[in-house]
Symmetry: C2
Subunit: 198 residues, 2 copies
DNA sequence: TGCGGTACTGACCGGTCAGTCATTATATTG
DNA sequence: CAATATAATGACTGACCGGTCAGTACCGCA
C-alpha cells in the first residue's frame, strides 16, 4: 500500500469532493442503515448509493459484490463494539459479581434496544448462506467472548467469590436471555414486551 | 363447500391424478422443504412446484401469492406440534418438576435438531416483514404457551412443591436456552456444538 | 359419445435489480 | 497548462422470477 505523502499538504479539512480513504466507510455506513431497515435481499444497492450520496456504480469500485459489501458491514459494526467490552472484562479491578452486575449488565441491557440488535437478526437470517461470515463472526466475537467470560468466572472461583458452576462450561447461558430479548423485541414488539433483568 | 359425494365410489386408493383435497397439502409440504432450505426470498415458486410434481401455475390456484403460501407453511407446521405439548401440560398428573424434567425437557431437547427448528429461524428472518404472521404466531403459540407454563408453575407453588420464583413472571427464561441452542446450531454447527441440558 | 366443468399446464409478460462500462470531472504532476 | 491518472457517474444490459392466462386433459354424467 503506497502512502499518499502529499495529500496532507492540502488545508486540513477542506470539503474535498473526492476522498479515497473515506468513501468506503461512508458507503458501509449507508449500507448498514439500509440493511438494518430492510434486510439483505430487499435492500437495493441503488438505495445504499443514494444514501451515501454517491452514484449507483461507485460501491462496486470498492466492493466487488453486494455480498461483499454486506460482509464489510457486519465486520465493521460488530467487532469494534464487542471488543470494548472484552477489553474491560480482561482488565477490570471489580469482583466478578460486581462486574457482571455492573458493566456487563448495562452493556447487555442496552443491546436489545440499540441498532446493533439488527445486526444480530441479520446474522441469523443471512448467516447460513455465508459460511465464511459466520466463521469470521464465530472466531472474532463468539469464541473470544466466551473465552474471556470463562476466565472471568474462573477468577471469581479462584478467589472464592463463589463456587464452581455449570456457567463456567456454558457461559452461553448468561447470554441466552439477552438473545431472547433481542429477538422477542424484533418479532413481537407490537404485541408484548420483555425485560432483561436478572 | 360442496362435498364430492360420488368420488368415493372409485376403488379405494387408485392413483388419482386429480385430487383437490390433497394438492394444497402436497404443495405446502414441498414449500416447507424449499423454504427451510433456502429461506423465503431465495425460494422460487417454480422449484416448489417442481418438488410437488406440479406445474408452475398450480400453487397460485390454491394460494394467491408467495407470501400467502409462506404463511400457510408456518401455520401448518408449527401450531399442530406445539398444541400436543400444551395439551399434555394441561392434563398431566406429574408434579411440576417431574413434568419439566420429563416430557418438557425431552420435547425441548429434540427441537433444535428437528426440521421444525428451521421454522423458528424463518420466523426470525422474515417475521418482521409480515406482522400478521408474527401476530398469528404470537397469539396461537407464544401467549398460549406462556399462559400454560404459568399455570403449571402456579400449581407447583400452590402444592408447596417449590417457592415463588421469578420464573412465574418470565417463563420465557425457561425457553431462552433452547432458542439459543437452535440458533447456535443453525449458525455455528460447523464450528462448535452446544448442549441443551439443565 | 359428447357435453360441461374443473384441475392442471407451461409459455409468456412485465418489472426489478445486480452488475457493467463508456464517458466525464477532478486532482496531480512536471 | 498540458498530460496523465483515477474517482465518480448513470444509462444500460441481461438474468431472473412472481404472477397471468389461454388452452388442455381428464372427470363424471346424460
Amino acid at each position: 500500500m503506497a502512502e499518499t505523502k502529499s495529500a496532507e499538504r492540502k488545508q486540513a479539512k477542506a470539503k474535498r469532493r473526492r476522498d479515497k480513504e473515506v468513501r468506503p466507510q461512508e458507503i458501509v455506513a449507508a449500507a448498514f442503515e439500509e440493511f438494518a431497515e430492510k434486510g439483505f435481499a430487499e435492500t437495493r444497492l441503488e438505495d445504499v448509493a443514494a444514501r451515501a450520496k454517491v452514484s449507483k456504480g461507485l460501491p462496486y469500485l470498492y466492493f466487488k459484490t453486494k455480498v461483499e459489501l454486506f460482509k464489510a458491514v457486519i465486520r465493521s459494526v460488530i467487532t469494534s463494539h464487542f471488543e470494548v467490552l472484552r477489553q474491560r472484562m480482561e482488565t477490570t479491578e471489580l469482583s466478578t459479581e460486581e462486574f457482571l452486575k455492573g458493566p456487563f449488565l448495562s452493556f447487555i441491557q442496552e443491546l436489545p434496544g440499540s441498532r446493533r440488535a439488527f445486526i444480530v437478526r441479520l446474522l441469523i437470517s443471512e448467516g447460513y448462506k455465508h459460511p465464511e461470515l459466520t466463521q469470521f463472526y464465530y472466531e472474532n466475537v463468539i469464541s473470544r467472548g466466551l473465552e474471556t467470560m470463562r476466565r472471568l468466572i474462573d477468577r471469581g472461583i479462584e478467589r472464592g467469590e463463589f463456587k464452581p458452576t455449570p456457567l463456567r462450561d456454558y457461559p452461553q447461558l448468561l447470554v441466552a436471555p439477552v438473545l431472547m430479548a433481542i429477538l422477542w423485541r424484533a418479532l413481537f414488539e407490537r404485541h408484548d414486551h420483555l425485560d432483561t433483568n436478572k
